[in-house]
Amino acid sequence: MVFSSYVFLFLFFPALTILYYLIPRNRRNIRNGVLLFFSILFYGWSGPKYLILLTISVSINWFGGILIRHFSPHPHAGKAVLAAVIFCNCFLLGIFKYTDFIIYNYNILFSRGLPLQNIVLPVGISFYTFQGMSYVIDIYRKPEFCLKNPLEVALYITLFPQLVAGPIVRFSDVAEDIHHRKESLDDVVWGLYRFVFGLAKKIILADTFGILADKTFSAGSLTTGMAWIGAFAYMLQIYFDFSGYSDMAIGLGRVFGFHFCENFNYPYISSSVTEFWRRWHISLSSWFRDYVYIPLGGSRCGKLRQFLNLAVVWSLTGLWHGASWNYVLWGVYYLICLTAEKYFLHSFLDRIPFLLRRCCTLLIILFGWVLFRLESMSSVIAYIKTMFGLGLVGPGTAETITTLLNYRFFWIAGIVGSTPLMKNLYRALAAKYDSSLLFQLLRHLFVFSLFLLCIVYIIASSYNAFIYFQF
């Protein structure tokens, strides 16, 4: 099930919301139970057999938390349990995600012919596995937060808004909400607003740019102009797809009283690659920072060790995105960019004009997405060569112009939507008119109209899965 599907929007979400709010507020456990039931239903909709794996993951992490708390007076034992639980989580993830990758590379390395297992990747396994590890690590750091009730651990890990595509919610961020959240009318409206905006980003913008990106990346021969169009289209597609989904998840969480952290902060306005990774997929980058980079020593050690720590983090970041060398290379690409920024280019970057810095950063991100999108290095090299006029076909000026003109309003919306311009404009208006009933009604009307447009798109457009579902 996805948030933009008919079943979720017209059946699941209304049924859950009505049932949830029919339960008295002081019956927190029953409300949590309803959320848990619907979350399991949500996940099982994509294939009931994957519920078994989810159950195993939840059980491992719940039991691991219990043991860690039990052994908290004995640090070594507690650490051993933590290591074992993390190993189990990584093992589960590894089996389903990296088995064929390992077999493939083993065959190449040792000239063997072991058959690939073609294991189907369960939806969201990368997300909920990391959430499970987040739980046990946070329990290790603060054993008093251990949840004795396995259903509460299940609720934390399986909560449907963030189960299949994030954001990766830290246990410490929602521990309080599980027991003591306060739902309010303002939160429900805020949540619905956020959900509608996320849905619009995904359905209207991401899917439109996806059509353009798919057309160019699958083309047999490509002109220079269309190669740039395709790259920019993919850059916008992946942003609106993923940030739109995060918006929906955050909005849905708020409807039920949960306060998830922001996952995107207008990453394309960054003036450095370092800043980009503070704005893009914040939950993942901060997860790796807090649970891998800092425990390894972070920047509190020599330069060589720091570089090695960064190398580990960025290799894992790449590998998390997919079991393929292009993702690892994508991670290494950013490792090189970040290291260069930090150690060699820092003073130089401070001297160049701000706008030029932003443009250069955007170009670096753009090429990173080309590397991310294409699975083979030869394809990446050929694509980038085409972008610089070294392809077999010419500039393709006419086709580029027609593609830009045909989707001009979407391009404008995409560029504006990638910046905080509309948000700042709204804030300026709200600061002046928020107390006005007319302003509130106009706001409701705008969001409701956008909602109706999304319904039109959902019914009329063909089904399209989220990009990040493969992770």
Binding site: Y6, G47, Q440, H444, I455
Partner: protein, 394 residues
């Protein structure tokens, strides 16, 4: 007492969920629809439940398709979606573009080079081989073969492509000239329709949302054919009534053309009427399909679409007017022959057609058997090895 803000918030929430539940509820109780005229496909029905499709999750995917297909306001949503795209001026979609004359046209390749123009100029060898085989078969009993060159709509409206779009005019002109040259080299008279159609360019001669010509376009094409046949045998002097002398009726109803299904309907492009033009003194006839008597009409004014002509495409249609003194004619071609067949019933003793997409067998063998006086090869589709063929030429 609730504040105004709280009241407006409650109203918003209620409206939000009322829309969702209302639509879902009405869809659930409404009768399931079978077919979508706009899309030309059967809609998904409620999927059967089996342990296997539940376990592997495929039932849930089919259920999603079922819900979307049977959504009660589905057609409205489709219309609003394309209307939104029209509002956003997305003038090119799914391989088609809106022309300056508001016709839907195929998007041509942007990679037209001198070599592709030269290649088009050398086209037609396969078509020529087929023509020569057919001519040879006809020559065995004294039949005459003609080649009828009809421009594609995108070729005819080459100058109507929006700025920066490739019209492909040079390629089309080169290919058309090449096909005509191949026919002439094979000693086959050519019926060139482009000039006559061009002289009536401002009339409604091609459908806006379909790739076919209208009854007017076909009428001018048929006039060109008669003129060529008469030039080969002046004694025949075949005449078809002027268009103004025909019984012309108009159906003022939006037509869903072949291009519209892919373009999508936002309402700003449409064929909002269809003409039917029948001679007042149309002869009596008997129709046969694949040798069997058929009650299908030659022109059905109740059908709002190109399939009104001859009721669509069939493998082998034979129409007998029981006038042995008049010559017989056989059309070999795809759907562009349909209105020509209808009009030919007025002038010819028997009218026959072979549609190679549905006809199985040998075209030349069939010609030897039926021995029509005139064989008209229509457009550039007739060549051995055409992937759309179900038959062979020889």
């Amino acid at each position: 007492m609730l504040s105004k803000k709280a009241c407006s918030n409650i109203a918003f929430i209620l409206l939000f969920f009322a829309v969702l539940l209302g639509c879902a509820g009405v869809s659930a109780v409404a009768e399931d629809q079978d077919f979508s005229l706009q899309e030309g496909r059967f809609l998904t029905r409620f999927p059967s439940i089996t342990p296997d499709n539940l376990a592997d999750g495929s039932w849930f995917t089919e259920f999603e398709s079922y819900c979307k297909d049977q959504f009660t306001l589905r057609e409205t949503c489709m219309e609003r979606y394309y209307a939104f795209l029209d509002l956003m001026q997305v003038n090119a979609r799914n391989g088609y573009v809106r022309g300056k004359n508001n016709h839907i046209l195929n998007i041509r390749s942007f990679n037209i080079t001198p070599s592709s123009i030269a290649s088009a100029g050398n086209a037609g060898t396969a078509q020529q081989e087929a023509m020569m085989k057919i001519k040879s078969a006809a020559g065995e009993y004294g039949g005459s073969v003609l080649y009828m060159n009809i421009p594609y709509k995108m070729e005819f409206f080459a100058d109507m492509y929006p700025d920066h779009y490739e019209s492909g005019k040079e390629v089309d002109d080169a290919k058309r000239a090449a096909l005509i040259r191949r026919a002439e080299e094979a000693g086959i008279p050519v019926v060139e329709t482009y000039d006559l159609l061009d002289s009536h360019r401002d009339e409604y001669i091609f459908f806006t949302t379909d790739h076919h010509w209208t009854v007017r376009g076909a009428y001018y094409g048929y006039q060109a054919l008669l003129e060529r046949i008469n030039s080969l045998d002046p004694a025949l002097n075949l005449q078809y009534p002027d268009f103004d002398e025909l019984n012309v009726s108009v159906r003022r109803e939006r037509m869903v053309g072949s291009y519209l299904r892919k373009w999508g309907d936002g309402g700003t492009i449409c064929d909002d009427y269809m003409e039917y033009a029948i001679p007042y003194d149309m002869p009596r006839y008997t129709r046969y399909e694949n040798g069997e008597p058929s009650q299908l009409p030659l022109l059905d004014t109740q059908i709002n679409g190109y399939s009104a002509f001859m009721y669509g495409d069939y493998a082998n249609t034979f129409v007998d007017t029981d006038r042995e003194e008049l010559p017989s004619i056989l059309y070999v071609g795809f759907s562009y022959t349909n209105p020509l067949e209808f009009m030919s019933v007025y002038n010819f003793g028997t009218v026959e057609s072979l549609d190679p997409r549905h006809f199985t067998g040998s075209i030349c063998e069939h010609i030897r058997k039926s021995q029509p006086d005139y064989i008209v090869i229509v457009k550039d589709d007739i060549y051995e090895g055409n992937p759309e063929f179900s038959c062979v030429v020889e």
